[in-house]
Symmetry: C2
Subunit: 237 residues, 2 copies
C-alpha cells in the first residue's frame, strides 16, 4: 500500500511507537535500516515493512513520512514494525543488569555479551526499556542474537542460584581480582545502576564480589565498560 | 553581578557556547555541576562562575537562565566558563583516536584512560570536539585529570615512533592476541572511527596489530569498549 500523507493514521501510529507506552500496549517496536530489518526478518518477528524505495514493501512511503517516523537524523530506505523479542530458556553465562538507566550502555552491553558469549541477559524491572531506539542502535543488531528477559531480581537470583549459578557482584573495596574467583560453574555477573551501583537487596544475594583494578584517581568505570571487561575476562578464563 | 533577564547579552553568550564555533573562537567552554566546577577551579582554568544559589558567584542568575544555558534536563546550581585545557608534554602510554565521532565514546575513553593509566590521549584532527558537553559529561570529570592533544596523526605518529613508542592498531583478521605483543616499551594504542575503523594512512604507520578474541557471530565491539579492554590489558601486563 502506498502512503503519501503525513496525516495518515498509519503514519501517526508509527510515530506513536517512539513512546514506550504505545510499544508496551501493542508489544511491538520499530526498527530502521537494512541490516536490522534483515535480522528481524530472519527471526520471523517482522509484522510490516515500510520502504521509501521498494514498492513491494507492505507500505511504500515518501521520504517525508520516513523522516517523521524515524528516530535518526539521516533516514534509512527501510523500516519495520516488529513483535517484541521472544523469550528463550536461560542458558550459559548470564549478565544481570540491576537498574541500568542509560540506553547506550544497555545497547553496548548487549553487543559485548554476544561477543563474549554471555548467552542470557536479565534486566531488572526498573532498568531502561529494551525497545528504546537508542538501545537498538547501540546494540548494532546484536539485540536479535541473544536472549533478554525482564525479571524481578529478588525472585530471579535465588531461582538461578538453585540452578547452580554463582552470582558475582562488583565492589571496588572488598571485591577480589577476577583470577581469584574460579568460575568452576556457570556465573551471573551483576552490573548496577550508573550512579548508585547495585541495590542493597541484590547485593545481599551475591555469592562473590569482584573488582577491576584501576588507578586510585579514577573512582569508577562506565557501567558498560565494567560489564564488558568482566565478560571479556570470563570469556578468556 | 545579578542577572534576571533571559535577554541579557551575557546569557546569550553562554548559550552560544553550545556551539563549537563560538567555543573555538574564544577558546572557552561551559561546564555544569559542583563536581566539575570544583575540579576546574583546582586546575585554575575557571574564567567565571554562574550560580542560582550563591550570591558570591561572578554571576548570580535565575533558574530560568540556568535552564537556558544548560545542556542537561535537570539543571545544576552552578556552572562555569573555563579556558580550554592546557596541553602538557607527552608521557606514559598513549591512546590515539583516529576519527572517533561519538561524544559518549570519547568521554568514556577518557574516563577509562585515567583508570588504566594511559597518561596521554591524542585526538586526530577529524575526531569529535573535546568540549562537546556530552564528552565532558561522559568523562565524569576525568577530562580534567589527563593530557589531551589534537594532532595530525600522519605527522604525530612518526614523531612518537622516533621517541621509542610502539604504535599498535587493531585488526580483527591479522591482529595478534595481546599477550603476544610484549609491551617492552611504551605503547600507543590506536582506536579508529566507529563505522570505518582506522584510516589507511594511520594503519600504514602501525608497528603491530592486536585483536580482542570474540565470538564469530559478533563482528566488532563498540569503540569505547575495545579501547578500554586494550588499555585494561596493558595496565595488567
Amino acid at each position: 500500500m502506498e502512503i503519501t500523507s503525513l496525516q495518515n493514521n498509519k503514519v501517526k501510529y508509527w510515530v506513536s511507537l517512539k513512546q514506550k507506552k504505545q510499544r508496551d500496549l501493542d508489544r511491538v517496536f520499530l526498527i530502521e535500516g537494512n541490516h536490522l530489518v534483515d535480522e528481524a526478518l530472519s527471526l520471523g518477528i517482522v509484522k510490516e515493512t515500510i520502504s521509501t524505495k521498494n514498492k513491494n514493501a507492505d507500505y511504500f512511503v515518501t521520504k517525508e513520512i520516513m523522516q517523521k517516523i524515524s528516530s535518526q537524523k539521516s533516514i534509512s530506505d527501510i523500516a519495520a514494525v516488529c513483535a517484541f523479542l521472544p523469550e528463550a530458556e536461560i542458558k550459559g553465562n548470564i549478565l544481570v543488569l540491576d537498574g541500568l538507566q542509560d540506553p547506550g550502555n544497555l545497547g553496548t552491553l548487549i553487543r559485548s555479551s554476544v561477543a563474549f558469549n554471555f548467552e542470557t541477559i536479565i534486566l531488572s524491572d526498573d532498568s531502561v526499556d529494551l525497545y528504546n531506539d537508542k538501545v537498538i542502535r547501540a546494540s548494532e543488531g546484536m539485540i536479535f542474537k541473544t536472549n533478554i528477559l525482564r525479571r524481578n531480581l529478588s525472585e530471579f537470583l535465588p531461582e538461578i542460584k538453585g540452578k547452580g549459578y554463582k552470582i558475582i557482584g562488583t565492589d571496588v573495596v572488598k571485591g577480589k581480582p577476577f583470577k581469584e574467583i574460579l568460575p568452576e560453574k556457570k556465573i551471573a555477573i551483576v552490573i548496577g545502576n550508573e550512579g548508585n551501583g547495585m541495590s542493597d537487596s541484590v547485593r545481599n544475594l551475591c555469592d562473590e564480589f569482584i573488582k577491576i583494578p584501576m588507578m586510585s584517581n579514577c573512582e569508577s568505570l562506565n557501567a558498560a565498560i565494567a560489564g564488558s571487561i568482566l565478560m571479556y575476562e570470563a570469556y578468556h578464563e
